[in-house]
Amino acid sequence: MNPANYLYLSAILFTLGALGVLIRRNAIVVFMCIELMLNAANLAFVTFARMRGALDGQIIAFFTMVVAAAEVVVGLAIIIMVFRTRRSASVDDANLLKY
């Protein structure tokens, strides 16, 4: 099998995640799409680690997970807070900061 297949898959997953971020309105779905993008990047890191025969890529993937966890915690807290005040989880509803 072509080693690049993993990378192609990673690219496709990343692109789909980006599409989700751009077209979905629900904040939770948007967040999940971001998680998808992070995971796609992780797949690429792991694949590169295998390709180079070094563990650094795996370490980076590990750190990505740490950062993703932190981001999810803060992001979900923000979503809850916004939901409390606005009774909505739509990212389009929070559009006061504009022209």
Partner: protein
């Protein structure tokens, strides 16, 4: 693990199909729970891929942390917001979808073009480094606590900060002391004394004298009519009160004593 065997090829294609379908499901499912489940499937597939590529530790972490903890957190928040909440897929921002789709396609094309263009080597495999370190976990740990020690420390600070941040963001300051039951009771009586028509005593329990003792079944008043005030307001609001609906008496089509009327009356009583 240097090169891919037939087993891995099979795994890859199966997994890749499942994960792409999962990603599409994440994007296009209306119900958010479905989206979350689709994301779980993608993550599990990726865990398989990690393991297949020699990253055993990462594969386990993927299952435990991501699929286990993070996705549970998502579902938990989902429940807070409303498990049944749906997301309309119709676009409201003019031109957003029209621009987004070609842009995403272009981005994917560029990314794939990069990989196709790159002069990628064959897999070296991580077996050698894993063996040298005495297993994948040990090798990773050695690397983590030596070369990436500083990043590791910083990531701990990030985690602590995020934990505190979450607490600060969701915290609500109490500005008045909590009222005791006694105070609440006194207040109710005072309002009643001023002539307000309110329920002074405690509300009746649901299910009393009724056919069922479930929470959505209103208690029956001595005249046999249901006391809807005994049912939780949330259930009443969703109109899911299971009920005793007395049949209208002959010649009394719009009977004075029917469920809705009495519910209205009892609502007035509760106000």
């Amino acid at each position: 693990m240097g090169n891919t065997g037939h087993g891995e090829t099979l795994l890859f294609w199966l997994g890749s199909i499942v994960s792409v379908l999962g990603a599409l499901g994440l994007i296009f499912s209306k119900k958010i729970v479905h989206a979350a489940l689709a994301l779980c499937s993608v993550m599990l597939c990726l865990a398989f891929f990690y393991m297949a590529q020699g990253a055993v530790f990462l594969g386990v972490v993927q299952v435990v942390v991501y699929t286990g903890a993070v996705m549970m957190l998502f579902l938990f928040v989902l429940m807070l917001i409303g498990i049944e909440s749906q997301d309309s897929l119709t676009e409201t921002i003019r031109g957003q979808r029209f621009l987004a789709v070609p842009l995403v396609v272009a981005f994917g094309a560029v990314l794939i073009g990069v990989y196709a263009h790159a002069n990628l080597p064959a897999f070296v495999g991580t077996d050698a480094v894993n063996a040298k370190g005495g297993g994948n976990v040990t090798a990773l740990a050695q690397l983590l606590f030596s070369r990436y020690y500083w990043a590791f420390e910083v990531s701990s600070a990030v985690l602590i900060t995020s934990a505190i941040g979450a607490m600060v963001l969701t915290h609500r300051e109490r500005t008045t002391p909590r009222k005791s039951q006694r105070e609440q009771s006194i207040e109710r009586f005072e309002r009643w004394g001023r002539g307000e028509r309110i329920q002074v005593t405690g509300l009746p329990n649901p299910g009393v004298y009724a056919q069922h003792n479930a929470v959505d079944t209103p208690a029956l008043l001595p005249d046999g009519s249901p006391a809807e005030v005994s049912v939780n307001a949330t259930l009443r609001g969703r109109d899911t009160v299971r009920g005793f609906r007395p049949l209208p008496l002959p010649g009394q089509v719009n009977g004075q004593v029917n469920g809705k009327q009495s519910a209205k009356q009892s609502n007035e009583v509760s106000q």
